[in-house]
């Protein structure tokens, strides 16, 4: 269902890079990538996954997963855990801990604290662990400054460095509005997947373009080698299709 897109992004393997950043241009939706990655991680036996829901509540990811062919509820509480910020805010309103800053912690500090707690509880029992954060722009919308979001990501990058087989996957929407923030997040890891709209306009057969940038590990002292790969994608009801560039066109 989603194997081709993960293969194109190089995220189909059991061991993922330490920090992966997905940047989403304005007017395109890259949420399908989060659902695809989540499905792939859940299928690996004994691999732990933590989903931080900021853009959509958990029910959305469950529904998306059912369409892509996996039931996330089976894994919930076992290998799969969720920090559902949105649902918590909807349930508790202004008294939600994400809005009233208990213990003097900011939103991002509170989030880091909760992620660390989950990690301490679940990481030792798992062969690998993946933290998915969807998405960082919502933190800015909820009042966090860009500096706080940067500190948040640095904290996560430190976690990824400190733990073997721990992968942090972040997503930032409207990356064209926050290019500096986007660059900083790319610097923290070796892989960035840019979800771009078609420059030529809307096209029925294709939804957009994925630009996959990967910095090679054996980078030198004075230059770093980087690979770039572009593919087109189309999100269907139950799968995501990938096309190589120039393989699709308008027939007149």
């Amino acid at each position: 269902m989603a194997a081709s897109v993960l293969l194109a992004c190089g995220l189909n393997e059991q061991k993922l890079p330490g920090f992966v950043h997905i940047s989403e241009e304005s007017n395109v939706d890259g949420s399908f990538l989060i659902s695809c990655i989540l499905g792939q991680r859940l299928r690996i036996s004994n691999a732990g996954t933590l989903l931080v829901c900021l853009q959509n509540h958990y029910q959305h990811y469950f529904n998306a997963g059912m369409r892509l062919g996996y039931n996330s509820n089976i894994f919930l509480g076992k290998t799969f855990n969720v920090i559902d910020v949105l649902s918590d805010m909807a349930r508790h309103g202004l008294s939600s801990k994400w809005l009233r800053s208990p213990d003097g912690l900011t939103l991002t500090e509170q989030l880091v604290k909760d992620i660390r707690e989950q990690l301490e509880k679940n990481y030792p029992n798992r062969s690998s662990y993946t933290i998915l954060i969807d998405n960082l722009s919502i933190l800015i919308n909820l009042g966090a400054s860009k500096q706080q979001v940067q500190q948040f990501c640095l904290d996560l990058a430190d976690l990824a460095k400190a733990h073997d087989n721990l992968t942090v996957i972040t997503k930032l929407s409207n990356s064209d509005i926050h290019p500096l923030t986007d660059n900083i997040f790319f610097k923290l890891g070796n892989v960035r997947i840019q979800v771009l709209r078609l420059k030529s306009g809307v096209f029925r057969e294709v939804d957009g373009k994925l630009l996959i940038e990967r910095v090679l590990d054996d980078e030198g002292s004075y230059s770093c080698e980087q690979t770039r790969k572009e593919v087109l994608y189309k999100v269907n009801d139950r799968n995501v299709k990938i096309f190589n560039l120039f393989l699709i066109g308008v027939k007149v």
Binding site: K146, Q147, Q150, Q151, L154, D155, A157, D158, K161, P179, L180, T181, N183, I184, K187, V215, E219, G220, S221, Y222, S223, C224, E225
Partner: protein
């Protein structure tokens, strides 16, 4: 080699990278120092969340001082021939993430004044600076720096050098970068007009082809290194002691043996 131009007597070195290569900053500077045989005298601040603790910054200064003192008491150590350490700071973007500009400038100044610090390296990528006053902060760092290396494109760079005597040079170079080597060559006037920014001053005329000039005034790479390494007599400020006046009496001096203030009853 680029290291010949960067590892000189100038103490504060700012590298402005317009190519988004923050991730290799530490390796880049370490390689420059290693090429000049100074790879063992490096101190670097921890990166990441450690930068939020002011104690990490103070610890580095203390560490430099302690190690320098230990090395002075150990005459077998080869480092005694050169004083102090090369300090590599985290990138400006990382520093600004946790510390205020005032703190960064103050710390930079402390490092500059420390006798246990031989050189300070700071890397700044404008593409990674999201502080609202990033332009002013970068300008402030340029003001403090004695050597400003600007990596403009994959093939060109500029170097502003401020001498202790007050002289300033601004030169542009062509560069050839591989994974392990960074070769530079002075950029001849008009050779690459498309990539040269309007604000920089070209000071590398090709005099060899100009028969109208009497003297050879341009310097090649080795001459620049030799010139930068030379400490002129008026720059030897550290050798002065207490400001004592040493007076050698002359045979014709007319000394008055009596106290001229005798009548004042002091």
């Amino acid at each position: 080699m680029l290291s010949n131009l960067i590892v000189t007597n100038q103490k504060v070195v700012l590298i402005i990278d317009q190519l988004n290569r923050d991730r290799i900053a530490l390796k880049f500077i370490t390689s420059l120092l290693s090429e000049q045989g100074e790879g063992n005298d490096i101190k670097a601040l921890p990166i990441g969340t450690q930068l939020k603790h002011v104690a990490s910054f103070e610890a580095l200064l203390r560490d430099c001082a302690n190690n320098a003192n230990n090395q002075q008491t150990n005459p077998t150590d080869p480092i005694t021939t050169k004083t102090g350490y090369n300090v590599i700071l985290p990138t400006l973007a990382d520093l600004l993430c946790y510390q205020t500009p005032a703190f960064i400038f103050d710390y930079l100044n402390k490092l500059r004044q420390s006798e246990h610090v031989r050189r300070v390296f700071l890397w700044a990528s404008p593409m990674h600076l999201q502080h609202p006053d990033a332009d002013y902060i970068l300008a402030g760092c340029e003001y403090l720096a004695e050597l400003v290396l600007r990596l403009e494109t994959d093939s060109t760079l500029s170097l502003i050098s401020r001498k202790p005597g007050g002289g300033v040079t601004n030169k542009r170079y062509k560069c050839q970068v591989s994974k392990t080597e960074f070769q530079v060559k002075p950029l001849t006037e008009g050779a690459d007009t498309t990539t040269s920014p309007a604000t920089t001053i070209q000071e590398t005329p090709d005099n060899a082809s100009d028969p109208g000039r009497t003297f050879k005034i341009e310097l090649d790479e080795d001459e620049v290194v030799a010139r930068n390494a030379l400490t002129l007599p008026y720059e030897r400020t550290s050798e002065a002691e207490d400001g004592n006046i040493i007076y050698t009496p002359d045979a014709n001096d007319d000394f008055d043996e009596e106290d001229p203030d005798e009548d004042l009853l002091i």
